[in-house]
Amino acid sequence: MILLKGNASCQGCPHSIAFKVLEYLENPIVLMPAGCSTVIAGLHPNSSLTIPCVHVPFPSTPAVSYGLSAGLKRRGIKANVVAWMGDGSVDISYSLLSGSALRNDDIIVIVVDNEAYMNTGVQSSGTTFWKARTTTSPKGKKEERRNVALQMALHKVPYVATASVGYMRDFIKKVKKAGEIEGFRYIHVHCPCPPGWGFESSKTIEMARMAVQSKAWILWEYDGYKGKFKISKISKRAKINALKEYLLSQARLKHLSDEDIEEIERKIEEEWKLLEHLEKL
């Protein structure tokens, strides 16, 4: 068991589900910037993680992870060093993340994306869903939504994938694959957050699946060695007409008009077309 019982996560927390994948890596060491995961991991002198954990400053995660990985390698110690970041950490360390990808640093980055800065109380982030209400976007987010995984794939790193806590077998398969490769590996996992998004805490998995089934979150994989891009089977079977139900079942998106939903639908279709195009290359 990676995450012990009695930890500080909220009911229905997607991160506490996501932590399970670390069991499928050999010799993991996890690095953690400020975020919900920091609190879940435990306050001194307690620790809820059964694997070594290094807490690091917010923007520094990819770089400290690489330093640790390189330092251990020089001592002849094998480890899978995991940079465990939230979407807030991605925003604040974006140039470091890009630099790390560019150098092909030997680390695994797992981004647990709950689509807002949840630990500070639900503020808008780069990956916050289109038009979603947060405490800093009370009338709905106006900016675009950052597709970080795709941007990482464009760095031509060995492995990039998207995943969801609603599809753990797929997520685990991707983590296992990443664990067997060397170099920069990136997995971006969709994490619906009950208090942040405004849905019942018993419905995290349901919400995660609805996101995938409506293409609001698309699962794919990029194999950098072969240069092959592949939309995962689960997403291929998904249908965009399930979108409205997904959106309106969350308090943060309840305000959406039919026009808003149509606009979001168009954006998703554009993204889908782009991914299909990449797959054909």
Binding site: L43, P52, G71, S95, L96
Partner: protein
């Protein structure tokens, strides 16, 4: 063996002897030629280290933080804005009680832009828990870099080595390449390995946080004795935390730090020839601060500063925590170089009791 070296290359030669496992750096004037030299040494196999080419100073020190957490020896160098950009990580390195050496080619801070020398940048490290050394020559830069690894690793605190931008970094002198062995890095008190059971730097409230900082402060204080011991054991002794120059019978005492002390010493010699009993206490370390050495001074004190805090110089402020009756000159900003003649003027005015409590000095050759 003797070599003609700039201050920066003297640092690089010493780093090579200390054999760090990981070097990460981002270029910034006037530091750049330190890490260029090290990159060259790594590429041609003279130095068995990994040189990580990063996209910012923030990343440079973050990579080193990871590497030294894993038990490797780490080195980086920076200046000015680069130091500010990595400032957050400076606190994490010290708070994690990890050893390393960072060379700081001291340079002015913006705004406005200025790439030339003063001491404003390195002074921001005063509260961060680092040991801060300041050198006067390329030889001392070489010697203190080597000692820095040893001192830092004994006391588990990072070591910043300040050398004046351009004045020392870009001027060459003959440097003795000493045959000095830095012992292997001591293992960490905790084991950072996959199988080990630890959470490093988790959220820590109240009393344990106070204990952590108190231990750090106690060890910084303890570093005073280690610095003195390492200095004594070294082939050449500089005097430990301070260097005393013609102080035995001095009625007038100048307190200064850094590369310009050489010119100021020449000025002291000139005044001595005129029969004025003047000497210098050169601060080789800003942290830990040589409080005892300053407290012992017997004479009138003038502190000459290349950095500012409130209306005073930073060292003026620091010295005044020990001695209240001081005069303070603030000058030498942004590459404004003072030569021996300038120091003769300042010191003469001081001896004639014509210097204000805090005087901003504009007159330079």
């Amino acid at each position: 063996m003797k070599k003609l070296l700039t201050g920066n290359h003297a640092v690089a030669e010493a780093v090579k002897i200390a054999k760090p496992g990981i070097i990460a750096a981002y270029p910034i004037t006037p530091q750049t030629s330190i890490v260029e030299k090290l990159a060259e040494m790594v590429e041609n196999g003279e130095l068995d280290a990994e040189f990580v080419r990063v996209e910012s100073e923030y990343t440079a020190l973050s990579v080193i933080l990871g590497a030294i957490t894993a038990g490797a020896r780490g080195f980086t160098a920076t200046s000015s804005q680069g130091l500010l950009y990595m400032y957050e990580i400076c606190w994490w390195v010290a708070g994690s009680r990890l050893p390393m050496v960072m060379a700081i080619a001291t340079r002015s801070l913006g705004a406005p832009w200025n790439i030339h020398g003063d001491h404003q940048d390195i002074m921001v490290l005063r509260d961060a828990g680092w040991i801060i050394g300041m050198v006067e020559s390329a030889q001392e830069a070489f010697d203190l870099t080597l000692q820095g690894f040893k001192i830092s690793e004994e006391v588990h605190l990072p070591f910043a080595l300040g050398l004046d931008g351009f004045q020392l970094t870009h001027t060459a002198e003959v440097v003795e390449i000493r045959d000095y062995k830095v012992p292997k890095r001591k293992p960490l008190p905790y084991v950072v390995e996959p199988i080990s059971d630890f959470a490093l730097n988790a959220v820590t409230f109240g009393i344990p946080k106070l204990i952590a900082r108190h231990e750090q402060a106690k060890d910084l204080e303890k570093a005073k004795e280690i610095i003195k011991r390492v200095d004594k054991e070294f082939p050449v002794s500089y005097g430990g935390l301070v260097e005393e120059y013609k102080l035995e019978d001095a009625e007038y005492i100048v307190v200064m730090s850094g590369g310009w002390c050489g010119d100021a010493k020449d000025a002291i010699d000139i005044l001595r020839n005129k029969g004025i009993q003047i000497g210098m206490l050169r601060l080789r370390f800003i942290r830990p601060f040589p409080t005892k050495e300053i407290g012992r001074l017997d004479g009138k004190i003038l502190v000459v500063d290349r950095s500012n805090s409130d209306y005073r110089g930073v060292l003026g402020l620091e010295v005044s925590t020990v001695r209240h009756d001081i005069k303070n000159v603030v000058t030498g900003f942004g590459g404004m170089e003072l030569d021996t003649e300038d120091f003769v003027k300042i010191f003469t005015k001081f001896v004639n009791n014509e210097i204000k409590d805090v005087e901003w000095w504009y007159d330079s050759a």
